[in-house]
């Protein structure tokens, strides 16, 4: 695919390029994230993990993927 057709998004503060019509589910699969151990925010809104295949990503989207780490 031509580079011009790529879409820029921000994932956990880092820029990424995806192809058009890329779903949030495709992104999670691409990043190999275990769905049962994470939560996802799209432009500061929590996305129901059951609905990620229906969520299409668009230019400039900001995605946060979080998990649990050690803490007090």
């Amino acid at each position: 695919m031509n580079i011009k057709n790529k879409i820029k998004i921000i994932v956990n503060g880092k820029q990424m390029q995806i192809t058009p019509k890329f779903s949030l589910k495709s992104l999670i699969i691409k990043l190999k994230m275990p769905l049962n151990k994470i939560a996802i925010e799209l432009n500061k809104e929590i996305i129901d993990k059951r609905k990620i295949s229906k969520t299409q990503l668009k230019k400039g989207d900001k995605i946060e993927i979080v998990h649990f780490i050690g803490g007090g």
């Binding site: 275990p34 151990k37 500061k44 979080v66």
Partner: protein, 257 residues
């Protein structure tokens, strides 16, 4: 004497020691310390996944949330909005409603920002969260938190990670007298005797992270803390003798030769 059950938001827990999962050398050391401590609640934090290193070990691979209750915290949050965002995400990971609220106001000594903490408690409670609140050892604020719907009051003993032990026993005692909510000392414990003192003051539990994780032997310290909490609780329930300035012989003079 039979102790009453340690109950938070209507759920019974076996151990009165809650352990933090931060600052350990490795996840396996953390898991071992938790097992030795006997804790059935552990605090955890919400942070970004490292997307460039996908194979990095995860806390959930070492500590099974089906066996141990995860208590998501809001470490690093300075406003009610930050705290609510963080806890909504925590809830989304796996449905956790029991949470530890910690809204800080000062990066140096990590004291709680009590105005934001109170506001957060109200908002989170309205959203259905069961909020255990890290707070100052201020009886008036503790009362306000209780009225706002907190499920546990968790005053500091001393600044987080300081290891200074309980600095204001009087305030802790006053809070104990005024509330029926679980009272848990959160932050500032340094050694086992501090944990015992907390329990002897009538607290329902103690939350410890740094004192175990950064001890030279964290696993052994986890055991020491477990015993200290049990010991302090038994001492509290047993009813101590009145302190006396003068001596009182343990042996009778009757039959002396």
């Amino acid at each position: 004497m039979i102790d009453k059950k340690f109950k938070i938001a209507n759920k019974i827990f076996k151990s009165r020691l809650i352990v933090g999962t931060g600052k350990y050398k490795s996840f396996s050391e953390c898991a071992k310390a938790i097992k030795t401590s006997g804790a059935d609640i552990v605090t955890v934090a919400v942070r970004r996944v490292n997307i460039s290193n996908k194979n990095k070990a995860r806390l959930m691979d070492y500590i099974d949330p089906k066996k141990i209750t995860y208590l998501p915290n809001t470490a690093g949050c300075f406003t009610a909005e930050d705290a609510i965002r963080t806890l909504r995400l925590a809830r989304e990971i796996g449905g956790w409603k029991l949470v530890k609220l910690e809204v800080l106001g000062d990066k140096k000594n990590l004291f709680p920002e009590m105005i934001e903490t109170l506001r957060s408690t109200e908002l989170l409670t309205k959203e259905g969260f069961k909020v255990m609140v890290y707070c100052n050892d201020d009886p008036l604020m503790a009362k306000r938190l209780e009225n706002a719907g907190a499920v546990a009051i968790m005053p500091l003993a001393a600044p987080i990670g300081s290891g200074l032990g309980i600095q204001n026993k009087v305030n802790i005692k006053i809070i104990r007298k005024q509330t029926k909510l679980p009272l848990i000392i959160d932050a500032g414990i340094g050694q086992a005797s501090d944990a015992s003192i907390a329990m002897e003051l009538g607290c329902d539990g103690v939350l410890i992270n740094t004192a175990i994780a950064k001890a030279k032997n964290p696993i052994q310290m986890a055991e020491a803390m477990k015993l200290a909490v049990i010991s302090g609780r038994k001492s509290y329930l047993s009813g101590r003798i009145n302190p006396n300035l003068f001596g009182s012989a343990s042996t009778t003079n009757k039959g002396i030769i």
